[in-house]
Symmetry: C2
């Protein structure tokens, strides 16, 4: 079991960057952030160095110098809130990048169900889940909303591993008692619910208040659930107020399936709504093909959307209209959707979120631009900036998982879920000597692919990070004040 | 100056993967490839190990064992042809990832021209070009078609650096005597041509037969060139048969500009054609918004297209219809288009080429699929597979730069431009001990983000590489038999 607190208080010093609202990054230079033993931020003070913090902040906080560890972001480094992956299938991690030319429904049968079914094996589940958690932590994911499989023991193992490796997580046993393959299907609605309760009980036994690990009700998606299962899950939600995660409107063939299977429902969103599955704590993955009527329903219920651009492009699903969702008042975060998504990195998801938003703004293929100025403005508005996608990756994601009060930014009262980012500095003019070259190679090895020449503004550095950064730029990662990953 | 040959003959052993035709990768297991001192492949034999090669191949080739160096692809590694970047602006390398919400024409003025102008400084040019070449070599780019700047000395320096660092390159002094900013513009057509000739002369002085480094005529794009400049460049091409590179139909505002500036031309392609700039050796970057008439003209002239998906998405330019170009008989390769493109990696370009092709196949946003079966088939056809984008990155690119006889695959007579790729093996079940964890971290550090669990088929491994690979997977890189990059 993970320690519930940290041994010492912590002082963080240097540059802190976070999103204060959609489209606005705040750069806190020369700043001190104090984190107490429970992992909570208790002070954020600008224009502070270590000496000033020791002299003025420690007395106020009742801290003694020898009871504080100090972490400094070096020149060129910065602290950033941990990423929040609002949609990821841990058991599919071994399949990242493998999807061929499939689309959703054949992809499920060809790649996904066989892999998930094989995780009934606990040794295999341990290997896959350990790797998945280590990788996502290495990419700076401090919170993940995980789908597991239908198997209770390996789902419980995923929860155990998240707790011991220190990743904040929502862990959902997948409910699917309909339309799945014979070899991978819940026996009945009641068995599906009993198994769900078994995982809830297990998580309660390892983290009584769901402080770090929370169960999440997980009807796979409407076509995979009987009406009984959905009705019972809705009732369970009403009973427990546990969060819910599912998929919606990802693929046009799926839409047709839902229309055929639920002829009495007005639309896809209505299917979930009539079973009480559309609430403030519901995370809807994809939401590509929602109608105006549906988005209004989703907004009125306060449900949230996980935008998964890597997956949506890979499976040719479509492009979610993020600006439209935001305009309608729907909260949006980012999901890797491993392994419909090919990358376990939320930074990759952020990058692709910016790129696919540009695709929504692209002119028609004819080369003619026959739209009026207003339409042109509208088209420009759909594009997401670097600042906006980083908002979705942090504060937006926090809202989606209903932890907006706890994580997503650097404010007093929030918990210290953070990453230390370092970018590579290109050496000054190469003098061509061999030893210098070795040095460069060392540096390259350590700092990844972001090359900072030194003349860039900070906003340019952040853009370079978003477009060429990878796990090599993630030097350290903390969850609730606990160091959960560091690069050598 | 680079050595013209290698000290020893070379034997390569193990798995070789290359594209034999569009959509078909060949897997040559347990194969021996012999490369002579000139860097040419002189034997490719399947079912060979070192002993058999020594016993049967060496005598045939007249090789002695102590005059041969042996390189073995270890279990899980493979040799792959070097990547060919058919469109990259070396001076823009420091701007990768920095483009904000600009599109082509404002991006040029805001980011690009100021950066290019600053490379009149030779120390700055040396720093930028050295880094650019090192980075692209580290990503496995063995051949690059570079745009430099308008400055002769720094353009010549780029050629020198490519030669000394060992990257096969086309180096183009940029011709632009029209519509550029005052601070960055050729004085006149004749000055533009004289400067072009100066760079050609310089390259002839360092690589007389253009074996490794070739000049390339580089009218920036039609709006940046006077008709005099284009006419003189066309004449110079006729005189020298040197290759040509330029841009075409990237952006809808650019199309309008071209129509306004060249009212006598039938279309954009025709502008180049009437100045003799559309020939077999012409590389046209982007080609997003070509008409049917234009593509027929391009095809009939035998000109080629450099597809730059990272750039096209980043600058909201559009999506080139690669399948359509190929169907029309136009040769297509990939370009990073640094820094319209945010990544100097051709593997990234390949990944995005697959993804953006899916965008062409996406259903309309309404969620309705009201197209008939034939239209559905057509839509499916536009999607590019992993095998196809790797073809574009290697053999396709070789055709685009008119080196199809020399590079792009592993056949006798071709030159050894290759990369050794290694993917990461996930350890067996983690026993949780600390030492084991350290070991994993070592491995992770070395092998990047591609996780191979061991059960994957080779085609799945290649897909994983395309979607999650980076420079960490590129263990060694050779150009014409010379080792030009290796990771520690």
């Amino acid at each position: 079991m993970a320690p519930l607190g940290n041994e010492k208080n912590q002082l963080y010093l240097g540059l802190f960057i976070h999103s204060v609202k959609l489209g606005e990054l705040q750069y806190l230079h020369d700043t001190a952030v104090c984190v107490d033993k429970s992992g909570k931020i208790v002070a954020v003070e600008q224009q502070y160095d270590q000496k000033k913090a020791e002299e003025t902040l420690y007395p106020k906080l009742g801290w003694k110098t020898d009871d504080v560890t100090v972490t400094i972001a070096k020149e060129g480094q910065f602290f950033f809130p941990g990423f929040i992956d609002t949609h990821i299938h841990a058991p599919q991690y071994p399949n990242v990048g493998i999807f061929g030319k499939s689309t959703l429904l054949d992809w499920l049968n060809t790649y996904t169900f066989p892999m998930e079914a094989s995780l009934s094996s606990l040794p295999k589940a341990r290997r896959v889940y350990t790797r998945c958690i280590q990788r996502t932590l290495a990419y700076g994911t401090t919170t993940a909303a995980y789908y597991a499989t239908i198997h209770v023991p390996s789902t419980n193992l995923l929860a155990d591993l998240c707790l011991s490796l220190g990743q904040r997580a929502f862990v959902g046993r997948v409910c699917m008692d309909n339309l799945g393959p014979d070899y991978y299907l819940d026996e009945s609605a009641s068995q599906s619910l009993a198994a769900t309760r078994a995982t809830i009980d297990h998580i309660r036994s390892i983290d009584a208040d769901f402080d770090l690990i929370s169960p999440i009700l997980t009807p796979r998606f409407a076509p995979a659930c009987s009406v009984d299962a959905m009705a019972q899950l809705g009732a369970l939600h009403k009973e427990t107020n546990l969060p819910i995660q599912t998929h919606i409107a990802e693929n046009v063939d799926e839409l047709k399936l839902v229309r055929d299977m639920f002829p009495d429902s007005k639309n896809y969103a209505d299917v979930y709504d009539r079973f009480g599955l559309l609430g403030k704590r519901t995370i809807l993955a994809h939401a590509i093909h929602l109608s105006d009527e549906e988005v209004d329903l989703v907004a009125s219920r306060g449900s949230k959307v996980s935008h998964c651009p890597c997956s949506n492009s890979a499976l040719t699903s479509g492009v979610a209209r993020v600006r439209w969702l935001l305009d309608k008042g729907v909260g949006v975060g980012l999901g890797t959707d491993v392994s419909g998504g090919y990358s376990p990195s939320v930074l990759d998801a952020a990058r692709q979120a910016a790129l696919v938003s540009n695709h929504l703004a692209m002119p028609s293929r004819t080369g003619e631009k026959q739209i009026d100025a207003e339409a042109e403005d509208d088209r420009e508005r759909v594009r997401l900036s670097v600042e906006e996608v980083l908002h979705l990756a942090t504060r937006g994601g926090a809202e989606v998982v209903c932890l907006g009060e706890k994580i997503g930014g650097f404010e007093v009262g929030k918990e210290w879920d953070a990453q230390l980012i370092g970018l590579g500095l290109v050496p000054d003019e190469d003098d061509g000597t061999e030893s210098k070259q070795d040095e460069d190679q060392d540096q390259e090895h350590d700092t990844g692919n972001v090359d900072i020449f030194g003349w860039e503004r900070w906003e340019d550095r952040v853009a370079k990070w978003v477009f060429n950064g990878d796990d090599r730029n993630v030097k350290k990662v903390w969850v609730r004040g606990r160091l959960v990953h560091q690069r050598r």
